[in-house]
Assembly symmetry: C2
Homo-oligomer: 483 residues x 2
């Protein structure tokens, strides 16, 4: 056979000795946490006697899940080896089976694509909660409890469950406590996608977790902000969850996860929970000190701006460092690239007018000093500009002609995006990260979508579709043009 | 917090230095294949620039998938990090969306539970293909092409796709070539669950693979019989697959897999494909020699019997070593335990009248000699018995009152299994391994089910239900008793 020019395994080996500093996921920051994995193949076992079965846990896995539940103040914890993705699919499938006579999910419009996927699989209708705006047009903020109240008042008899994201990718938290109270008045379960909040609930120096605030089902990614390997997550349930709903949850976790779960991933969850239990609070308290120093330093920036709690009308988890380029004569992509190339600091995300660094308990004060100093130096070389004249908001009201399920199963054709105005989308378009769809199947394509896609593209951000990688094209339903 | 008495991580570390020999999965047999994983946390990255994106592969991952497709004689290969499970879910969801006006899956009744889960998610009706019987009552054999022909003739206009398992857990292959031809006459896609056949298609000393025989979509577990880490698998598609169906496949692979795929799992796939490409054929040719010696030796057994190709009316992959206890005065569980305790040989599976050892290219002639010698010694201490008087067959005709989807979403109550005769099941019951359901939601409970469950239980095999671990109980639908 021919020679392979590129090989993933070799590239990964090479990258392991690369000196870039990761201000991005995973949260363990590639530190040699444990020499266990020196022996990975040796420990990559199957369900042999004594090692329990993730899908019917009653031995060592169950006893660790109990310890984990206690750590996170939840009634139960389920280890996930297919990421938060499978937890989201399982939670929505479960409420949908449980409330079988209802047909609508009330969800935040800035949900991760897995929420939309679950809606499609479960053939649900949707009602949307739109996040509040911030000073940065592409940065979504919190869901207001009064919005939830208004919709449930009118439509509680149709709604299988409520799904919100808190914290968001950028660390913005909603008032889960109030929202949970409203949901419980109507006996509707509240599911919170806390993929970015696995470090919450451990130290009082950081915001309360969604479980502590009364959410019924919480999904959280251990790898994003704590110490486990990528693709590991938790599904947590709160006290008093209906038993029938719990049975559906357990069933669907079996459906959406491999029947041959990786003991290497389970190992890393086990070790992560132990480290959090023994030293998580102390590590997070130290991180609070380091963050305080960092935010004091960067308050001196003149053109770049690091957002602080004062910039939000809601709780903000400032272990997400959001750097705005709105009033500096530098594009966000250029800032990202300069930090990487000149300072070997690799950030997590670039958006239109901001970049994000993810900081975890594995980051030292020294690393944060390095980031602060780099920002101060770059800032000193920039000029102040007025707003760069992008859109005032990337928030869109979605209008639907079909459910996601219907639209995915209908006849479709491919058009140039600019010719698709007024047509019904038969596909998703999204940025990754963060993986929040810009348009979803069944949605009517309005001009604001075209403007937003255009804005991302001229800023060098790639908008991803499904099979076709040509993001200038979109699949739409074959039918007479809607207006 | 309290001390934990058991900790999975520590147990795994301990097991890594245990001296038991694994005649079970994973196929890498816990050999230190690669020192890479010494550095696992260091290489556990996210989709940083240059490392491609599993869900939109166009760089290094795509180039490796192409190499893998070539190795397996398929048109495309997709790396899976949520096991064969996600490949099965994606394949059935895809044919179901693609053939949206049809509503029935034609499937083998000995399918893995993930096939039944897909049926439920996609709200499909089912028609069943029953495997032929063998001399061992609990051992399923092949699906006959004429059965497929008979059903498609009558019902082709309802059927979204055909799903069979080949090879089975025990290495029995169906005539996929004939079955594929029949399916193609009716333009119906053939999906083959080849989870246990990732070593096929590489050496001519072993049976042909399902792809080589013309199946349209094949799912295979790399970790079961080749060299990758547990939870890794491939979805392969054959030449000429409809483009629309391919798009649905790609979409559903995104749905059922974590949006944060593990680069450690991807690394192990990359390394596995490379090893198979460079030395797979040679390793398998050597295994053929070792197996020939093994089968010659064990042909001398008097009471135990190791099944050979002559025991099947179809192709048999003899890298699965099936040891029958049917005519020996030893129970299969006792044989399994003696091999483990006295010889440190750990086999894969115990059934009522047989045990199974899984042999891969990582097993040496010496290891096989050890197994042969142990069997010869044990055999010399046993007496010949007549058939132990279990059931004559574990094959059951399933009768349905509801679809799986309907039954899972209906009102249910819990009964003692023995009181559930004539009722409609609202749950699954299965043995794991192999994870083939004994009863599924919507199925009418007949006396043969009770006999089979009883038989497994008196033989010390545990029958698993979903939430309730009490396998004497079963959830049934709340309605008037059917007869």
């Amino acid at each position: 056979m021919e020679n392979i020019t590129e090989n993933l395994a070799d590239k990964l080996k090479e990258y392991a000795i690369n000196g870039d500093y990761p201000f991005h996921m995973p949260g363990h920051k590639r530190a040699p946490l444990d020499s266990f994995l020196n022996n990975a193949y040796r420990m990559d076992i199957t369900e042999i006697s004594g090692f329990d079965d993730l899908h019917h846990a009653e031995g060592v896995i169950q006893s660790e899940q109990n310890v984990c539940a206690q750590l996170y103040h939840s009634e139960s914890a389920h280890f996930l080896i297919n990421g938060s993705t499978c937890g989201i699919l399982a939670a929505i499938s479960a409420v949908s089976s449980w409330a079988t006579l209802k047909d609508t999910l009330l969800m935040c419009s800035n949900a991760h694509k897995s929420v939309y996927h679950a809606v499609q699989i479960c053939r649900l209708k949707t009602m949307f909660l739109d996040p509040e705006e911030t000073s940065i047009p592409s940065l979504y903020a919190q869901i207001e409890p009064k919005q939830v109240q208004r919709i449930l008042e009118q439509s509680f008899d149709k709604i299988v469950g409520v799904v919100i994201t808190s914290p968001t990718y950028e660390g913005v938290l909603s008032n889960v406590e109030e929202i949970a109270k409203i949901c419980h008045l109507y006996k509707i379960p509240l599911i919170v996608d806390s993929a970015h909040g696995a470090h919450l609930g451990i130290s009082t120096y950081f915001p309360k977790s969604a479980i502590e605030q009364g959410a019924d089902i919480v999904i959280t990614s251990l790898h994003k902000t704590t110490l486990s390997l990528t693709q590991t997550a938790l599904l947590l349930t709160n006290y008093g969850l209906d038993e029938g709903l719990m049975e559906y949850l357990q069933y669907y976790l079996t459906v959406y996860q491999s029947s041959s779960p990786s003991y290497i991933l389970l190992y890393s969850i086990s070790r992560c929970v132990e480290l959090l239990r023994l030293s998580g609070e102390q590590r997070l308290n130290e991180l609070r000190m380091a963050l305080s120093n960092f935010y004091a330093k960067v308050s001196l920036l003149k053109k770049l701006k690091v957002l602080t709690k004062e910039d939000f009308e809601t709780t903000f988890d400032d272990s997400k460092i959001i750097i705005s380029t709105k009033h500096a004569n530098i594009k966000s992509q250029e800032l990202f690239d300069r930090l990487r190339e000149e300072y070997h600091l690799v950030l997590e995300l670039v958006s239109i007018e901001h970049v994000v660094a993810i900081v975890t308990m594995m980051d030292s004060g020294k690393a944060l000093d390095g980031l602060a100093n780099a920002l101060i130096t770059i800032d000193s070389e920039l000029d102040y500009t007025l707003d760069q004249g992008n859109l005032s908001s990337y928030n869109r009201k979605r209008e639907f002609a079909k459910t996601i399920f219907e639209a995915l199963n209908d006849e479709r054709e491919e058009l140039l995006l600019k010719h698709a105005l007024g047509r019904v989308s038969a596909q998703y378009l999204y940025l990754y990260p963060p993986g929040i769809p810009l348009v979803i199947p069944g949605e009517v394509i309005h001009s604001d979508l075209l403007e937003i896609v255009n804005c991302y593209q001229i800023n060098g951000l790639s908008v991803l579709g499904p099979a076709s990688k040509e993001s200038n094209y979109i699949k739409v339903l074959c039918e007479t043009k809607l207006t």
